[in-house]
């Protein structure tokens, strides 16, 4: 296997005295989709936040494209090609859709027109509402704005924290389709998901975390087929 684009190795850390992460390792290859699943409180979101630098590690390291970025702040990881979509409060509600996307491209000095068109191509509904305040959109559309804003930085790896939380099943399916499409353009995806079954279906690689440790790691399809995983984490 080639060297992963992004890898968090043997990560240990947490908020306050107690550790939430107990040595888990998570990585994603170029153009692939990695999905982190697991029970509540397993440290799924924490693991991803740690990889984005939103929580400092007690031990372990984070490498992007072979470069050690463990000590960098989240702001400094953005220009290196990482983008993060938080679970909530992930859009600028008072600004228009277009302005949200422009803000995503804040650090870029080149012409952002092509990226804008790509986002509008991926999410056609946003193109029709580009001058509407993002706060007035529906839940699914807001998530599209949030993903679109992150794409505007032209990331190499896009990190999504429960992108389908609180949206309807139809919207969820569509969102997953888009995520697959984004991955096809060569952008790596790493996401945390509650809807484990659907997420693993599109995953190249799945991680089942329990208490901050890797319990199972395999391709999405293999995990779906594993009876242990099915019984314990996918509801039979």
């Amino acid at each position: 296997m080639s060297e992963p684009l992004l890898i968090g190795q043997s990560m240990v850390g947490g908020y306050g005295a107690a550790n939430i992460l107990n040595g888990c390792t998570i990585s994603v290859q170029r153009g692939e989709i990695a999905v982190i699943v697991g029970p509540n409180g397993a440290g799924k979101s924490t693991a991803m936040k740690a990889m984005f630098g939103m929580m400092s590690l007690r031990s372990g390291s984070v490498m992007l494209n072979g470069q050690d970025i463990t000590a960098l702040s989240p702001q400094d990881r953005v220009p290196l090609g990482m983008a993060f979509v938080p679970q909530t409060h992930n859009i600028f509600t008072s600004m228009t859709v277009q302005e949200n996307l422009e803000m995503g491209a804040f650090l870029r000095r080149d012409n952002i027109h092509a990226t804008l068109e790509m986002v509008y191509y991926l999410f056609p509904v946003l193109a029709t509402k580009r001058h509407q305040p993002a706060g007035e959109l529906s839940g699914g559309q807001r998530q599209q704005v949030a993903v679109g804003r992150a794409l505007m930085t032209e990331p190499r790896v896009l990190m999504l924290d429960e992108p389908t939380a609180g949206v309807s099943p139809i919207v969820m399916d569509e969102l997953f389709d888009r995520i697959v499409e984004i991955a096809r353009t060569g952008i790596s995806i790493m996401m945390v998901e509650q809807n484990a079954r659907q997420a693993l279906e599109i995953a190249h690689r799945g991680y089942v975390l329990v208490q901050g440790e890797n319990r199972f790691t395999d391709t999405g399809a293999a995990l779906m087929a594993d009876p242990d995983v099915r019984r314990s984490f996918l509801g039979g």
Binding site: Q75, P79, H89, F92, S94, M95, M103, L107, R149, T153
Partner: protein
């Protein structure tokens, strides 16, 4: 004819003064609302920031006058305004560095920042009084009137005169330009949009690579510019006195809250609303009423709803009414 006379009186004593005063309040309220929206606290030092900016401008004006430099029919203070803005911006940046940054880094509660602004208020107040004293200072020079009451009467043949003071027109023009620039900057430029993004959602702004400290610095520079401009225009229109500027805090806050704290458009609307209410309620309507109403109905008294001594009560009453009825303000500002 009576109706025209009534309109002239109205314009002379209500509309034009209230427009000028409203523009001054609006500029002040814009500063308060920007600090609230971007730095997330109520800045009680704002009145004294206005006083400080005006003080620097007055000193620069005296310097220019001593050097024999004037601005023709316009007040010299307009030439000195950039100096005042620069001085105030430096002071505001230094204050942020010395005081507010510490609380921002610690993510202190907004009320602690407000408390710190009380300390800053004391210091600025002391500095202003120390440097320029507590007396009334009038620093308007150049032409006094654009249109005098006599010229107006001669030209129109009406009984009532309309006097338009130079300072009133300057206030409206300068405030108009300043507001247009501000709204253009916030809505059209990349940096301005990044400030709005920061106000909207600080964490997401950081995730987008927006540098918070740069936004904060810019905010202080803009706030200093607005406060100085507001203070200088008020001082040209009336006069400069340190304590009066402190007292302006109430109508300015009222304007910002009535419009919706954090909403620039609301601050402008609030400023004019407060100014028109204040002038309208404390104006003696007798003269207008005598022209418009039939003789039998003409009022005996001054027909003044409230004595001018209570002008603060007007802004306060509006403030309370808005807090009771619609706490987010007319333009739906930030949180309640």
């Amino acid at each position: 004819m009576d109706f025209l006379n009534a309109m002239v009186v109205l314009a002379n004593f209500v509309v034009i003064p209230a427009l000028a005063y409203g523009a001054q309040l609006a500029l002040g309220a814009l500063g308060v609302t920007l600090v609230y929206g971007l730095l997330r606290f109520s800045n009680f030092a704002h009145g004294d920031t206005m006083a400080f900016g005006t003080m620097v401008t007055i000193l620069a004006t005296w310097g220019l006058q001593a050097a024999g430099i004037g601005f023709g029919p316009l007040p010299t203070a307009l030439l000195a305004l950039p100096v005042g803005i620069a001085g105030t911006a430096l002071f505001a940046l230094a204050t942020d560095r010395a005081v507010y940054r510490f609380y921002r880094k610690n993510r202190a509660a907004p009320i602690i920042m407000t408390m710190a602004s009380l300390g800053v208020m004391f210091v600025m107040n002391g500095v202003v009084r120390f440097v320029i004293g507590v007396d009334d200072i009038s620093f308007a020079d150049g032409e006094r009137f654009l249109v005098t009451a006599r010229d107006f009467r001669d030209a129109t043949g009406l009984d009532e005169g309309l006097a338009i003071r130079m300072t009133q027109i300057i206030t409206l023009v300068v405030a108009g330009v300043a507001m247009a620039l501000l709204f253009w900057f916030l809505n059209r430029t990349r940096t301005g949009k990044s400030m709005r993004a920061f106000a909207d959602n600080e964490d997401l702004a950081r995730l987008s690579g927006i540098n918070p400290e740069r936004v904060v610095r810019l905010t202080w520079i803009i706030v200093a510019a607005l406060a100085t401009t507001a203070g200088v225009l008020y001082g040209l229109d009336k006069s400069f006195k340190a304590f009066t500027y402190f007292q302006l805090l109430l109508p300015i806050f009222a304007a910002a809250v009535v419009g919706g704290l954090g909403s620039p458009l609301g601050a402008v609307a609030g400023g004019f609303l407060i100014a028109f209410s204040e002038v309208g309620i404390t104006y003696a309507w007798k003269k207008v009423a005598t022209y418009v109403l039939p003789e039998a109905l003409a009022p005996d008294g001054l027909a003044q709803l409230l004595s001018t001594d209570y002008k603060f009560a007007v802004s306060f009453a509006l403030l309370v009414l808005v807090l009771l009825v619609r706490p987010t303000g007319l333009f739906r500002g930030k949180s309640v």
